[in-house]
């Protein structure tokens, strides 16, 4: 169980690319370790290998901890187990939807390998499932592009990973 006090502090660190989500919502905080010498180590994991926001996230976590009086916090990146959207908090998924990004479906339902398979993604604006995929890729590594066929709005889908 991670220290709730630290998690509360980290819940103020936003994802620079999807600022409505905190790093805690995103599920990338893997552990918080208090060392015997009093120093603090935060273990984070990248969403995607090439995610360019990771360096900034690590810096922002360090700044937030320093601002809260933790001396020389250490931020360590761990790769395994690999991050999955199943680690995103339910609160985070609600925040995403309100922000206009369709939240990821639970992993067991999707990540289908069969070709041309499309997931029924719900439009975050009008809640219709009558949507189509415009592209498997989007403005950031973690998103795909969809369009609602009822309200016609284009929207981002935080893809299942």
């Amino acid at each position: 169980m991670m220290d709730k006090k630290i998690l509360d502090i980290l819940s103020h660190v936003a994802d620079p690319e999807v600022p409505v989500l905190s790093v805690v919502d995103l599920g990338i905080i893997r552990d918080v370790v208090s060392h015997a010498d009093g120093s603090l180590e935060v273990l984070i994991t990248p969403t995607y290998t090439g995610c360019p926001a990771m360096d900034m996230i690590a810096t922002n976590i360090r700044m937030e901890l320093l601002a809260n009086g933790y001396q020389q916090p250490k931020i360590t990146t761990v790769l395994s187990p690999a991050w999955t959207t199943d680690w995103m908090s339910e609160e985070g998924k609600l925040k995403l939807k309100e922000y206009g990004i369709a939240p990821p479906l639970p992993k067991q339902q999707v990540c289908k390998q069969e070709l041309f398979a499309e997931e029924a993604i719900q439009c975050p604006r009008c809640n219709s499932h009558h949507t189509r995929r415009v592209s498997e890729f989007g403005s950031t590594a973690c998103k795909a592009q969809y369009q609602c066929l009822d309200c016609k709005e284009p929207f981002d889908y935080f893809k299942c990973h």
Binding site: Y48, G50, L79, S80, P81, S135
Partner: protein, 250 residues
Amino acid sequence: MNEYLFEYVVHLADDALILGHRNSEWCGHGPVLEQDIAITNISLDLIGQARNFFQYAAEIKGGDTTEDSLAYLRDVREFRNCLLVEQQNGDWGKTILRQFFMSNYQQLLYSRLENSFDRQIAAICEKALKEVTYHLKWSSEWVIRLGDGTDESHARMINAIDELWTYTGELFIPAGYEAKALESGLAPDITALKNDWLNRVALVFEEAKLPVPTAGFAQTGGKQGMHTEYLGYILAEMQYLQRTYPASKW
């Protein structure tokens, strides 16, 4: 230092880096905006994977070696990528086909390496496997879309197969460091991946109405540092800044 391990990890990094760089050449030139974004997102994944492998290789090598010195300060003959990834982009069809061949291979390789006893290689591949699986799906769909598309797109895919097929055999012919990696139990037998790879090509090509070539001759040498003329041009562009202004930083 463990020489074969270093070379093996550099090989994995170079494959990802050079394909990532090739794909990045599409930035701003994609056939439609969404696919421009798609191919450059794939670049981002691949360059991210290359960084992880390079960081590990630098750790193995020790001394002054860094991920940047490995990417920016080695010469052509020191690169260990296969010939396939350095081939020119050509048209969209050729780029798609190259991606399909390589993602197909990486997916098979990484799904074995994620169980390697080398914990760092296993962790990098566990992470990367999700990404290359997505690339494989995307590129498979595009091979089908183009192969079974118009007369023009079909003819271009036939052309792409003619140009690229001869470079696919190298993937399954072990270089010295791959043989040593197998011997030590670190890596899988890549010759044994060929059947699965071919079966997947056959499946997608059948749907795409494309013929699977029977020609068996394989161009080799890339994994040992003997490259086609193209790699030098890639490095000239990629390494220009670090060569001209050594050790400059952002």
